[in-house]
Symmetry: C2
Subunit: 110 residues, 2 copies
C-alpha cells in the first residue's frame, strides 16, 4: 500500500472513529445535555442517563477520546463540556435522513 492509499485509509478510519463515538443513544443524550448546560459533572450526567456511573464515565471517555468533549477537574469533580460547535448542523443532517425515511414509510402505508 502506497502513501496515498495509506492516507486515504487513515482518513476514513479517523472519521469512523468520531462517528462511532457519537453512534450510541446514551452518548447522544450526553452531547445534547452538554449542549444545553454548557458543562456538567459526571455525577449529574449519571442521573440524566440513569446507568451506572462507571458506564457513564466510559461513555464520556469515548467522547473525549474522539475529540468531541473535553474535561477539567475541580476538586473531586470532573466537568465535561463540548469542544465542537457544529454538532447542531450535523444532527440536522441526521434528522433529514430520519425524516426522509418516515415519509417513505407513510408512502408505503397509504
Amino acid at each position: 500500500m502506497n502513501r496515498a492509499e495509506k492516507a486515504e485509509k487513515a482518513k476514513y478510519e479517523t472519521r469512523a472513529k468520531v462517528l462511532k463515538a457519537l453512534a450510541h443513544p446514551a452518548r447522544l443524550k450526553l452531547v445534547d445535555e452538554l449542549a444545553a448546560k454548557e458543562e456538567a459533572c459526571v455525577c449529574d450526567l449519571t442521573e440524566v442517563i440513569g446507568s451506572d456511573m462507571s458506564t457513564v464515565s466510559r461513555h464520556l471517555a469515548q467522547l473525549k477520546n474522539a475529540g468531541i468533549v473535553e474535561s477539567e477537574k475541580h476538586g473531586q469533580m470532573v466537568f465535561y463540556r463540548l469542544r465542537v460547535k457544529c454538532l447542531t448542523s450535523l444532527f440536522s443532517c441526521i434528522e433529514s435522513v430520519v425524516k426522509c425515511q418516515i415519509d417513505d414509510q407513510r408512502r408505503v402505508l397509504s
Copy 2:
C-alpha cells in the same frame, strides 16, 4: 416510562442508528464513492472496497436500512445511490473535530 420519555428515547435511538450506519471506514468510502459517481453497482463498489462482494453487499444493506442510500435493480445489477444531500456538511463537522484534535496533539508535542 411516560409518553414524552419514550419519544426522547426513540429520538436518540433513531439518530444512533443512522450514525452507526456511517461509523465504519468501508461504509464511509462507499458514501464518498457514491457522492462522486452519482450511482454505482455492487460489483464496481466491490472493487473499490477490496473486500468480498458479500461483505460489500451487507455494508450497502446497512446504509440502505438507515435511509442513507437507495437502490434500484436493472437487469442482474443493483445500482445504489445517495438519498441525502447534506452529507458534505456533516463530514465537514466531523473533519473539524479531527482537525481540532490534530492541533491539540501538535500543542502537546511542542
